[in-house]
């Protein structure tokens, strides 16, 4: 079979992809390798080690893994991802998409508009809104609930940022699931209804098997995004006493505030590895799906893999 469909020839084909490859090399591959290198040194923001960093081998990694604060951060990040992405955004997004699937007209447009609004507003604006909402003294939530003086951000910092991120990110899942539900043929749902299937049985037997690929893609993307999310720093700054210090905050405070760039780079690399594990686990789940027709969707997950490297610059940004 002729693999050169465009008839370019090897030389010209290389010419076409070279500029893109150079850009990827300079802005993605090199910083990634640089982060790995920095993670092996005692490079600091200021002082002697800033001028002349020494290679310290795996010291940064052993220090991080031995650090209670790192392990707490990791655990908080897991809670954050499970709570706000997997349970919050995915479940709520699906519920909204499912409820609105047959609705047309103003109700649907208003709900979609509100959900989208929370997604497209700039992070700093949204963070300010939530501080205003949850404030101890003049907060809207306390006024609504009649609980003056309840310090939500101090008493429940993790819950606050989980609810915050659920609110912020549900739009993506809702839109993705709404598009996925469009692919379920009405005749399949009607066949199930004629057989007497309840709404839950229709979901189990008709809808979920058909949109499984979409569900996994969505899970992959929102898990990675949430794991690397820095926005809630604007609300709790990881406090109080580090009780909401998820991993991106931890890197930021140690690397930039604490000046330990080498250590920060090492933790960034660990985050990258965790992301990779996430991605590989999802990809494996997708591969084990038995239908050949889903090969196309497997390709979507190639893009999901791109999100791993896409997540890289944010991490490396903190190190470099």
């Amino acid at each position: 079979m002729n693999t050169d469909a465009a008839g370019l020839g090897r030389r010209r084909a290389v010419g076409f992809v070279l500029p893109a490859l150079v850009l990827i090399g300079v802005f993605l591959v090199f910083p990634a390798l640089w982060t790995i290198y920095l993670g092996l040194t005692d490079y600091r923001l200021t002082g002697l080690a800033a001028a002349d960093p020494q290679v310290v081998g795996a010291d940064n990694y052993t220090a991080a893994i031995g650090d209670d604060r790192f392990r707490t951060s990791l655990w908080l990040s897991v809670q954050y991802v499970l709570g706000s992405a997997v349970i919050g955004q995915a479940v709520l997004g699906f519920a909204l998409a499912w409820t609105l699937r047959d609705r047309r007209g103003p109700v649907r447009r208003i709900i979609e508009g509100l959900v989208l609004l929370s997604w497209i507003l700039p992070s700093s604006v949204v963070a300010f809104l939530w501080i205003a909402l949850l404030d101890r003294d003049g907060g809207t939530l306390n006024a609504l609930l009649g609980t003056p003086g309840a310090a939500w951000l101090l008493d429940h910092p993790m819950l606050s940022i989980i609810v915050f991120n659920t609110w912020r990110g549900t739009a993506f899942s809702m839109m993705l699931y709404a598009a996925a539900l469009e692919t379920v043929p009405p005749s399949h749902l009607e066949t199930a209804r004629l057989a007497g299937a309840s709404a839950l049985q229709q979901l189990r037997d008709v809808v979920l098997p058909r949109i499984k690929g979409h569900v996994l893609t969505n899970m992959l993307l929102i898990s990675l995004w949430t794991f690397n999310d820095f926005t809630p720093f604007l609300i709790t700054a990881g406090g109080p006493e580090g009780r909401s210090e998820i991993l991106p905050f931890y890197v930021y405070t140690t690397a930039l505030r604490g000046g330990q760039l080498g250590f920060g780079a090492a933790v960034s690399f660990l985050i990258l590895l965790i992301n990779l594990v996430f991605a590989l686990a999802y990809l494996r789940l997708l591969r084990t799906r038995d239908r050949t027709r889903d090969r196309d969707r497997g390709r979507d997950h190639g893009d999901g893999g791109g999100a791993v490297s896409g997540a890289g610059p944010a991490i490396r940004g903190t190190a470099g």
Binding site: E190, T191, A192, R193, L194, A195, G196, D205, R210, T292
Partner: protein, 356 residues
């Protein structure tokens, strides 16, 4: 089970009146066709029997019981959709047994039942396959098997043959008719193909604009179409429908003078209908024939469809005649189309007045 519809009306949001106060009775064990052009409401009618559409007013009864308010799952009907609606992630056994699984029939029993039905429809070799690995005809039989497996009171088929290619469609048609005959279950099917309706059904309802124009056996509908709409819709070649006038006790139609049925006063306008199969071609002038020039010849295999173009003031008037194999006239020749009087139809005010 009998099906009886009374005053059934369905108005969709936006004001489209898909069914207009429709009454229909379908007998026990009958194979019943709903026939009509797209948008005539036939599918809405089928879906109303299934319970997938809620009528705006009117009632649906199955086996004498009013089911208008019952959800689809409790009406004990099975439907085969145009796209078959097989679940791609389930194998053939699981697809056939799906309604039984919802009814909580134990696995062993429902799989035995699936295998039994599959055997009947020659699907035994395919029980472990997924729908994606089946041909169109096999998928259709799996969909039928799923409908049969749960012993419904009524079968509903939505364009059951339209996704098959032409040759397979004929085989599937014969198969379907025999199957329905053996099962003896009341079956309603929707089709836009008049040939399919004539071939399969015991009785046909021809629908137009949300109403039933005519109900009858295939022979009745073919021989005595109640209106010019039915006349033009039924038949594999379109019927010649020619406007004419009663004068001097005879019909003057497109250059021909034909005997008038009794009871039509002079001066009345009529429409004269004759199928191309029921007209003969004459090479010599005749008074009781439509004159014209041979314009197009279409070979139908065992016969040829000849299109005559009217001369003079009826320049755009076309008359079609079917001539036997090998008797094709030359194109451009003058010819006369002679209708057989015993097969001619006369409509007055869009009502059939002859044969009475």
């Amino acid at each position: 089970m009998t099906i009886s519809l009374h005053g059934l009306t369905k108005v969709f949001p936006g004001g489209v009146r898909a069914l207009d106060s429709l009454d229909l009775d379908i007998g026990e064990g009958e194979f019943f066709a709903l026939l009509g052009p797209s948008g005539c409401g036939k599918t809405t009618l089928l879906r109303s029997i299934a319970g997938l559409e809620t009528p705006t007013s009117g009632t649906v009864s199955i086996g004498g019981a009013d089911v208008t308010a019952l959800p689809p799952g409790r009406r004990d009907v099975a439907m085969v959709f145009q796209d078959y609606a097989l679940f791609p992630h389930m194998d053939v056994t699981a697809n056939i047994a799906y309604p039984l699984r919802i009814q909580k029939v134990p696995r062993a029993r429902r799989e035995a039942r699936a295998a039994e039905v599959a055997g009947r429809l020659s699907l035994s070799e395919l029980l472990g396959r997924r729908p994606g690995q089946l041909s169109g005809g096999q998928q259709q039989r799996v969909a039928l098997a799923r409908a049969i497996a749960c012993h419904p009171k009524v079968f509903l088929f939505d364009e059951p043959l339209s996704n098959l290619d032409a040759r397979l469609r004929l085989e599937a048609r014969t198969f379907l008719k025999r199957l329905q005959d053996e099962l003896g279950v009341t079956t309603v099917f929707v089709t836009h193909d008049q040939g399919e309706a004539l071939a399969l059904a015991h009785r046909i309802a021809v629908m137009d604009a949300g109403r039933i124009t005519q109900v009858g056996t295939p022979a009745e509908i073919f021989r005595r179409p109640a209106t010019t709409f039915v006349a033009s819709f039924i038949g594999s070649t379109p019927m010649n429908l020619l406007p004419g006038e009663v004068a001097g006790g005879a019909l003057h139609v497109a250059g021909a003078v034909l005997p008038a049925p009794p009871g039509l006063p002079d001066g009345e306008e009529i429409v004269y209908g004759v199928r191309p199969e029921y007209a003969d071609l004459s090479a010599v002038p005749r008074d009781d024939a439509f004159p014209g020039t041979v314009a197009v010849l279409e070979n139908l295999g065992t016969s040829t469809l000849v299109t005559l173009e009217g001369g003079g003031e009826d320049g755009d008037r076309l008359v079609q005649v079917v001539v036997p194999e090998g008797e094709d006239p030359p194109v451009g020749a003058a010819a006369w189309a002679v209708p057989r009087p015993d097969r001619a139809l006369v409509y007055h005010g869009d009502r059939l007045v002859h044969p009475a």
